[in-house]
């Protein structure tokens, strides 16, 4: 028996008839043709398939597509909507990848993490990405990349806060 899976993927609605046993990662890659989400270990160990489900980082190889009905799914394809995301810029600037296989998962985990903890220590970052395996970098450059992004995002936030403040001040009648 097939089931209708209707969800929002990177802000766009999508709906498909699929078997209940179809995993979310296969739904994303094969039904929606978004192949940025990778399949690594296939056993919820490596984190290459990490996506955001209603903002939470989860391993999409260990969720059925039917479970995502009605939810917001975000993949690496959704990150660069307005030019490179600060995280993508960080991985570029700090050489946070070599083969790049783990990178989409690292980016998605880091995105959810920085939303909760915008000013992390290196230890906080290592703890946050402990479910994402990288076999190339030794993680040092990944941690630097995420710190780079965190700093950039804090700067952007401060800039937009002060812009908002100036605007408000201008509204006050003199």
């Amino acid at each position: 028996m097939n089931h209708t899976v209707s969800l929002t993927i990177n802000g766009q609605p999508a709906s498909r008839e699929v078997e209940a046993r179809l995993l979310l990662v296969h739904f994303i890659r094969e039904e929606l043709n978004l192949t940025g989400t990778h399949i690594g270990c296939d056993t919820s160990s490596c984190g290459a398939c990490t996506v955001l489900l209603d903002g939470q980082a989860v391993k999409s190889c260990t969720v059925f597509a039917v479970q995502a009905t009605g939810k917001q799914v975000e993949t690496v394809e959704g990150m660069a909507a307005n030019g490179l995301h600060p995280l993508q810029e960080g991985f570029w600037e700090k050489h946070g990848l070599q083969c790049g296989y783990c990178t989409p998962g690292m980016l998605m985990t880091a995105k959810a993490f920085l939303a909760e903890n915008p000013q992390p220590t290196d230890d906080d970052i290592r703890w946050a990405i402990s479910g994402n395996l990288c076999r190339c970098t030794g993680y040092v450059k990944i941690v630097e990349a995420i710190q780079h992004a965190a700093a950039k995002m804090r700067e952007d936030q401060t800039a937009s806060d002060s812009a908002g403040k100036t605007q408000n001040e201008e509204k006050v009648p003199s």
Binding site: M1, H3, E19, A20, R21, L23, D42, T43, S44, S45, G47, T50, Q56, A57, V58, K59, T62, V63, F64, V66, Q67, T109, W127, A128, S130, G131, N132
Partner: protein, 292 residues
């Protein structure tokens, strides 16, 4: 690595979930966080005909302290336990345990109830709940039933709930004053099962141990209490000699298997060492000398 075919139901109330379970019996499995069940289905170690997904059932996701105990809804995510200020402050053994379960991504999906109901001796919550003397509330067609945790684990991946019951809530008695607890796990890497782990919860009366329960992870076919180790300290002085005797007793009474994580002799000695360390840390916490 594709799971076998199954029929899928996604009820929105506990009553509907129970009706489905009564109708389909042991052909059905409950899908909670799925972080153990889905990998098992991918390996075809589990091939249920029916999956009853309870993730859309309302009112099973809560952490609240009432009438002298902490009540945790079965569908509470491990990540929610990890973020709970109440648990960090008053239930240090549980706070320690949650941090060691799988990895942060798995904890976003994995549920507390699923971890217990799966009754895997390698899972971390069973030893901790044994140590807390917790109670499990199982909901069946005729209402709720309370199961003492000592009667809950009956075999490898087996618990004492009936096929038409769903784990609804777990109740952890609030520790009295001068209590402390900790969970100490040795793992090869983040996300791995324990080589061995120990849960200790104790209460002090002066220099005497007035209450103590010890649970062990992944060193027996069924989640177990180290009762001989408890006896080495219960009602006795917390001397270095008695603490060491508790460690030796735990090593003798556990029943580990040799595997990739090590031979039997190594695991027994590990149990001895971590039991001693965990008891010392629990004592420090009971005296307010150490923070969780």
């Amino acid at each position: 690595m594709i799971p076998g075919k199954f029929d899928y139901f996604s009820p929105t109330t506990l009553d509907d979930a129970l009706s489905l379970l009564t109708e389909h019996g042991s052909a059905a499995k409950i899908l909670a966080g799925g972080q153990s069940l889905i990998p098992a289905m991918r390996f075809r170690l589990a091939t249920p005909d029916i999956l009853i997904d309870i993730n859309r059932v309302e009112g099973l996701d809560y952490i609240r302290e009432t009438n002298g105990y902490l009540a945790i809804g079965a569908l509470t995510r491990e990540a929610s336990l990890d973020k709970s200020e109440l648990i960090r402050r008053k239930y240090s053994l549980l706070a320690d345990t949650v941090k060691m379960i799988a990895d942060p991504l798995v904890r976003n999906m994995a549920t507390f109830g699923g971890n217990l109901a799966h009754a895997d001796p390698a899972n971390d919550h069973p030893a901790t709940m044994l140590s807390y003397a917790a109670r499990v509330v199982a909901q069946g067609p005729n209402g709720p039933r309370v199961i003492e945790i000592d009667d809950f684990f009956t075999g490898l991946f087996e618990n004492s709930m009936a096929p038409n019951e769903i784990l609804k809530e777990v109740q952890i008695p609030s520790p009295p004053p001068h209590s402390g607890g900790t969970y100490l796990k040795i793992e090869r890497k983040v996300g791995d099962y324990a080589v061995a782990a120990v849960a200790v919860q104790l209460t002090l009366a002066g220099d005497t141990c007035s209450d103590i329960r010890i649970g062990l992870t992944n060193v027996a076919p069924v989640p177990m209490r180290a009762k001989n180790a408890e006896k080495a300290l219960l009602g006795l002085a917390l001397s270095d000699e008695n603490i060491r005797a508790a460690g030796t007793a735990a090593a003798a009474e556990c029943d580990p298997s040799a595997d990739l994580r090590g031979p039997v002799e190594y695991k027994r000695d590990l149990v001895r060492t971590i039991t001693i360390r965990a008891i010392r840390e629990a004592i420090k916490r009971a005296k307010g000398e150490s923070e969780a």
